[in-house]
Amino acid sequence: MAAAGAGRVSAEAGEAPEALGPGPVPCALSVNGREVRIEIEPRVTLLRALRHYSDYTGPKEICDRGACGGCTVLLDGKPVASCMMLALDAQGRPITTVEGLARDGKLHPVQEAFKTCDAYQCGYCTPGMLLSTVALLKENPAPSLDEIKRGLEGNLCRCAAYNHIFDAVQMAAKKMSASPAK
């Protein structure tokens, strides 16, 4: 991962005590409060683990380089690019995908606001936008327009529903501060 880039640790540097792979190894993920047990090659990203090795197709593969926000999930409550991290590094840490936002058939206030404000067009970037918004409002329950723009700067929308999205974030913020149950 990131710091492994620092590791100019060569392949010949000696036997590591617990070398994994290249074949499949067990991986236990905690997705939306559920334990997900899969077998994956260690090189598999969190995004592919969610999409291809289990059934969480909400996060999307758009650029596969961490440059679009389509694959955003919450890890320990914070938005991360799931295409740029290995699934094994996410073990034991709570993961939230878009599928985990609605509870008991009731939409999350952010989802409700996106629906009301028509804050999407084609919908492909929407899962990532929703999760970035949830994370933003958790840190900053009443963001200004500039803070919203900055909070969502990692999510590209080519339909450019941006202004509707900003409206939705503001609407959700109001709703959530009025009933801070979530």
Partner: protein, 286 residues
């Protein structure tokens, strides 16, 4: 993260990876009166949001906060950030056997070179892509490693002339463990120009630092990012904090630039970045 990118693009195919994320000793940020000790695994978000760092070393906090996107800053580490490989298109595309990949051509010389180096670009025109490296160099940081021990950051980055295949002085198998920034009381600032307002590598960045005495900046230095294969440090010594003096210094600093066919505008950006970052230090005095 960068390594994963390179593996996806078929630039590197390591036989074995060592996962450092499980080593707790490499994490954390400690700030005391002597300075800041930052674990190599501290994330850019942790650095950007750290109140003591923002107070004592604003250049670093700003540089970390300007990098990439929230999703990336939450995961990317400072160790990984200063050791990013070049963003050069030709380096990043497997089909170009460029010098950095052991080939014999720098494709940027006659190619799309608008993002490339304007200094030190006769062999390979890559630019060093790290924001935080620019700030760390301005702040005279020390790189602590498991290996040789300590490397002053001035000696940490190497030019293509020194070693075409790598960008740092780390030895084979050597690992960055910490970064130490000495508390000197210097003021610092960081800014960058990008093609768009988020989500972009800098066209030119600048970190400035200096100690202040009345209307004079002492030990003033500016480090430019994205203009050369290494963070490009310009030492200005003692300089009056007036617009005229700073403008003159900025003009002087870019005089030796050797822009390529498509990046002349970066010279102007560099001049502006120097001027504005220094002015910001001067402004902080009032």
């Amino acid at each position: 993260m960068d390594l994963l990118d390179l593996m996806k693009s078929s630039i590197r195919a390591p036989g074995r990876l060592v996962n450092l994320l499980t080593i707790d000793e490499l994490k954390g940020i400690d700030v005391d009166t002597s300075g800041a000790t930052i674990g190599a695994l501290a994330t850019l978000a942790e650095i950007a949001d750290h109140p003591d760092l923002a107070r004592m070393f604003p250049a670093l906090a700003l540089a970390a906060g300007h990098a990439a996107t929230p999703q990336v800053r939450n995961v990317a580490t400072i160790g990984g950030n200063i050791l990013q490989r070049p963003r050069c298109w030709y380096f990043r595309m497997a089909q170009y056997p460029c010098l950095k990949k052991g080939g014999d051509t720098c494709f940027a010389m006659d190619g799309e070179n608008k993002y490339h180096a304007i200094f030190e670009n006769s062999l390979c025109a890559m630019v060093h892509p790290s924001n935080t490296a620019v700030a760390l160099l301005a702040l005279d940081a020390v790189v602590r490693t498991a290996g040789s021990g300590e490397i002053p950051i001035r000696k940490f980055f190497v030019t293509p002339d020194q070693d075409i295949l790598r960008e740092s002085a780390l030895a084979e198998g050597e690992l960055v463990t910490q970064l130490f920034i000495p508390a000197t009381g210097a003021r610092s600032h960081y800014l960058e120009f990008r093609e768009r307002q988020s989500f972009d590598w800098a066209l030119v960045s600048a970190a400035a630092a200096a100690e202040l005495e009345g209307q004079t900046l002492n030990n003033a230095r500016v480090v430019l990012g994205s203009v050369a294969p290494i963070p490009w440090r310009i030492d200005l010594g003692e300089i009056a904090a007036t617009d005229e003096a700073l403008d003159r210094a900025a003009d002087e600093a870019v005089r030796g630039a050797t822009p390529l066919a498509k990046n002349k505008y970066k010279v102007q950006l560099a001049r502006t970045a120097i001027r504005r970052s220094l002015r910001e230090l001067a402004r902080a005095t009032e």
